[in-house]
C-alpha cells in the first residue's frame, strides 16, 4: 500500500467553502479521492458539489463520515494553527495543511502539542501528497502529470516537485507516493519521517529527495540515509546560485549558517551515498540510472 494517502483515505476538507478550498476539493474528488466531508464553522447542513456534506466541526464530520484525513485551507488570520489542533484532537490521523503564511511561533506551539500524539502532520505551506496507483490525491498538485510506479518523491517545494514528476513520467518512471513537506522554517513531518515510511513501503523501490537552501533538514536526511535507509536515493538541492542572507520566496529558504549552503547539503548527501542530480534538467536521467 502507498504511504500517507491510499485506498483507506477518507478525506475531510477544512475550509471547503473558500475560493481555494472549494476549487481544490473538487479537483481531489475528480482525481478519485474519497472526499467524504467538509468542515466550516457555521455552515452545518450545507452540501458541497452536490454530494459532500458540510459540518460545523471536525468532530461532527468524523462522527457521521468516519473521515480519517484532513486537508486544511483555513487562512492564517482565521487560525490555521487552531484548525490543525482541532483535527488532531478529533482523532484525524493524517493532517495536511496547505495554508501559506502561518506564523512560525504558532507552528512551534502546534509541534509541541502534537509531539506525543499519533498523527501525521504535513505542512503548512505545502502541496500535499498524492498516490497515483490508488488514485488518491490530497493536495493542490496537478493530478494528470502523475503515473503509478515505484519511485517515491519527497520535496520542500510545490512546482519543483511537479517538475520532477513531469520528467519522471515522461520517461515512463511512475511514482508510488509524492509528498511535499513544505517550505516553512517549522513544518510537520520531515524528510526523515517520509524516508522512514518509504523504507517500510513495499511499493517504493527508490526515492527522489529534493531539498533547498536554508536550515539543516537535508543534513538530517543524509544522516538517516547513511545509517538506515536501504533503498537508492537520488537528490537535487536547489539554490546553488542564491546569495547569503536573502530569502528566496520560502520563509525557510534563507542561508544563515554554513549548513544552509547548497554545496554543504550536496556534500553531506553525496557522502551518505545519495546520487546527486547536478541540475533540475537532469532529474529524469539520474533517476533512470538508480531504478
Amino acid at each position: 500500500m502507498s504511504i500517507i494517502v491510499n485506498s483507506q483515505t477518507k478525506l475531510l476538507v477544512q475550509g471547503i467553502t473558500g475560493k481555494e478550498g472549494s476549487f481544490h476539493a473538487k479537483k481531489c474528488k475528480e482525481y478519485g479521492t474519497n472526499l467524504v466531508a467538509g468542515a466550516v464553522p457555521g455552515r452545518d447542513g450545507e452540501i458541497f458539489d452536490e454530494s459532500v456534506p458540510i459540518f460545523d466541526s471536525v468532530q461532527d464530520a468524523i462522527d457521521s463520515t468516519e473521515a480519517n484525513t484532513s486537508l486544511i485551507f483555513v487562512p492564517p488570520h482565521l487560525r490555521a494553527d487552531d484548525a490543525i489542533i482541532e483535527a488532531v484532537d478529533a482523532g484525524i490521523q493524517v493532517v495536511i495543511c496547505i495554508t501559506e503564511g502561518v506564523p512560525v511561533m504558532d507552528m512551534v506551539k502546534v509541534s509541541s502539542y502534537i509531539r506525543d500524539k499519533d498523527v501525521i502532520l504535513i505542512g503548512p505551506n505545502c502541496p500535499g501528497a498524492i498516490s497515483p496507483a490508488p488514485k488518491v490525491k490530497v493536495g493542490i498538485m496537478p493530478g494528470d502529470i502523475h503515473i503509478p510506479g515505484k519511485v517515491g518523491v519527497v520535496s520542500r517545494s510545490g512546482t519543483l516537485t511537479y517538475e520532477a514528476v513531469g520528467q519522471l513520467s515522461k520517461l515512463g518512471i511512475g511514482q508510488s507516493t509524492c509528498v511535499g513537506i513544505g517550505g516553512d522554517p517549522v513544518t510537520g513531518i520531515s524528510f526523515v519521517d517520509v524516508l522512514e515510511m518509504f523504507q517500510q513501503d513495499d511499493e517504493t523501490e527508490a526515492v527522489v529527495l529534493i531539498g533547498e537552501i536554508g536550515g539543516n533538514r537535508e543534513q538530517e536526511a543524509a544522516e538517516y540515509i547513511k545509517h538506515n535507509f536501504k533503498k537508492p536515493v537520488a537528490s537535487l538541492i536547489v539554490g546553488q546560485t542564491a546569495p547569503k542572507g536573502k530569502r528566496m520566496g520560502h520563509a525557510g529558504a534563507i542561508i544563515t549558517g554554513k549548513d544552509g549552503l547548497a554545496e554543504e547539503k550536496i556534500r553531506t548527501l553525496s557522502s551518505a551515498g545519495a546520487s546527486i542530480i547536478p541540475s533540475i534538467a537532469d532529474i529524469g536521467e539520474v533517476v533512470k540510472e538508480i531504478v
Partner: protein, 384 residues
C-alpha cells in the same frame, strides 16, 4: 522584517532590558543637542538594516558635541556600503547617538527558532563582539545552545544555566539571568524570528547593557502586530523588491543579465541554477506565486525590465493551476506597455491550455524561443 537598532532597543526597553542612554536623530542640530546632554563623549551609529556596519565606517566614537554633529552630517548625507549591501549601499536616514559605556566584558546572547527541533533556542557565548559563526567554528565549547519549551517558556533554572555558562562574577549571574529571561519575552511577544544582542555588555560598575540589538520580525505574524508594522522602513529595501511586493510577487535582485520569471519558489531557485550552469548569469529570483493571473505575469515582466542590465528573459512556468494561455496574454500585455525595447524571451511552459498559449506567442511578433524542456532552455541561454 528587519528593524533598526534604535527600534529594537525601544522594544528591549519596554521589556525591561537595559540599553545605553541615547537618542535617535535625523539632523545635525539634534545630534549636537543630544551629544551635549550625554556629555560630548558619544558613539554615533548609522541606522541601516545591513550588517557589517562598524567596519564600513557607520559607527564612530567622538569626543565632543560639535564632532558628533559633523560625523552625523557626513553619515546622514551618505549611502553606507557594507559587505551585506550592493555597491550602491543603503541610505542613512537616521543616526543613533549613545553614551560611551565602560565595557568590562562583552557577551553574546541570541534567541531564534530551530526548525529541526521545532523549538525556540537560546544561544549564548562569553565571546561577544565578534561573529558568532566564527566563535562556533573556532571555539565550539564556548557556545551554549539550549532549547526552550513553548509552554514553559524561559524557565528560571535554564536562564541561570545560560548565565552561569558566561564565565562572569557569581554576583552577576542572577541579574544576567533576568536579562536573558526578558529577552525571551521580547522574542515571543513580538513574534520575532531573531533577537540577537551582540554584545551584551557588563560595565565596569557591574551593569548589564544591550550595546547593540538586531531583531527580525516574522513577516507572517505582522498581521497581529499593527504596532510593529510602523517599524517598516521602505528606504532600506531594494526599490525593485518593493515594487514587486506591492503585487504579491516575490523578487530578489541579483547581479546577472538574464531575467527569470517562474511560478513557485523552489522552481525559481532551480531556474536560477540552470541559468548559471548554462554559463549565463541570473538577474533575479522571481516567483509570481500560485494564484498568478494575466496582470501579475505582466507586472512581473515590467519589474524584471526595470533592471537595465537585463538583456534576455527566461520564463519557466509549470502550469498546474496557472494556465499557459494566461501566461501568454500576460507576456503580450507587458510587451505593449513597456517603454524600453522588449528583449528576447526564452519560454518554457507546461500544462493546461498549452496549445492556445503557444499560438498566442507565435503570432505575437515578439522575439521568442519556445523550448520544450530545461535542457533546451539551457542551450538557448548559452547561445550568445
Amino acid at each position: 522584517m528587519k528593524i533598526h537598532e534604535y527600534q529594537a532597543k525601544s522594544l528591549l526597553g519596554k521589556h525591561g532590558v537595559p540599553v545605553p542612554e541615547g537618542q535617535v536623530v535625523n539632523t545635525q542640530n539634534e545630534a549636537m543637542d543630544v551629544a551635549e546632554k550625554l556629555g560630548g563623549n558619544v558613539v554615533v551609529k548609522a541606522q541601516v538594516h545591513a550588517g557589517g556596519r562598524g567596519k564600513a565606517g557607520g559607527v564612530k566614537l567622538v569626543g565632543s558635541s560639535s564632532e558628533a554633529a559633523q560625523v552625523c552630517n557626513e553619515l546622514l548625507n551618505s549611502n553606507l556600503v557594507t559587505i551585506q549591501t550592493g555597491s550602491d549601499g543603503v541610505p542613512v536616514d537616521k543616526v543613533l547617538i549613545e553614551e560611551i559605556i565602560d565595557v568590562k566584558k562583552e557577551l553574546y546572547v541570541a534567541f531564534t527558532i530551530d526548525g529541526v527541533k521545532k523549538k525556540v533556542v537560546a544561544i549564548v557565548s562569553e565571546f561577544g563582539g565578534m561573529e558568532i559563526e566564527e566563535v562556533a567554528e573556532n571555539n565550539p565549547d564556548k557556545v551554549l545552545t539550549l532549547e526552550l519549551d513553548s509552554s514553559l517558556g524561559a524557565s528560571p533554572y535554564k536562564t541561570r544555566k545560560l548565565a552561569s555558562f558566561l564565565n562572569v562574577d557569581v554576583k552577576q549571574i542572577r541579574p544576567l539571568a533576568n536579562v536573558i529571561s526578558s529577552l525571551y519575552d521580547v522574542f515571543v511577544s513580538n513574534d520575532c524570528s531573531l533577537v540577537e544582542i551582540n554584545p551584551l555588555v557588563i560595565t565596569g560598575d557591574g551593569r548589564v547593557l544591550a550595546a547593540d540589538a538586531k531583531i527580525t520580525i516574522d513577516d507572517d505574524a505582522l498581521f497581529r502586530h499593527p504596532n510593529l508594522s510602523e517599524f517598516y522602513d521602505p528606504a532600506q529595501e531594494d526599490p525593485f523588491e518593493k515594487q514587486a511586493a506591492k503585487f504579491g510577487i516575490s523578487y530578489v535582485k541579483l547581479d546577472g543579465d538574464i531575467g527569470c520569471l517562474v511560478n513557485g519558489a523552489g522552481l525559481a531557485m532551480a531556474t536560477m541554477d540552470v541559468t548559471r550552469s548554462s554559463g549565463a548569469s541570473p538577474a533575479n529570483f522571481l516567483d509570481v506565486g500560485g494564484g498568478a493571473d494575466e496582470s501579475k505575469v505582466s507586472e512581473a515582466l515590467k519589474i524584471i525590465l526595470l533592471d537595465e542590465k537585463v538583456k534576455k528573459i527566461f520564463i519557466n512556468i509549470f502550469g498546474g493551476i496557472l494556465k499557459c494561455d494566461i501566461v501568454a496574454r500576460g507576456i503580450l500585455d507587458a510587451s505593449r506597455n513597456i517603454d524600453r525595447e522588449f528583449p528576447e524571451l526564452v519560454v518554457r511552459m507546461l500544462g493546461t491550455n498549452f496549445d492556445e498559449g503557444r499560438e498566442i506567442l507565435m503570432k505575437s511578433g515578439l522575439n521568442i524561443s519556445l523550448v520544450n524542456d530545461l535542457k533546451e532552455a539551457a542551450d538557448s541561454l548559452k547561445s550568445d
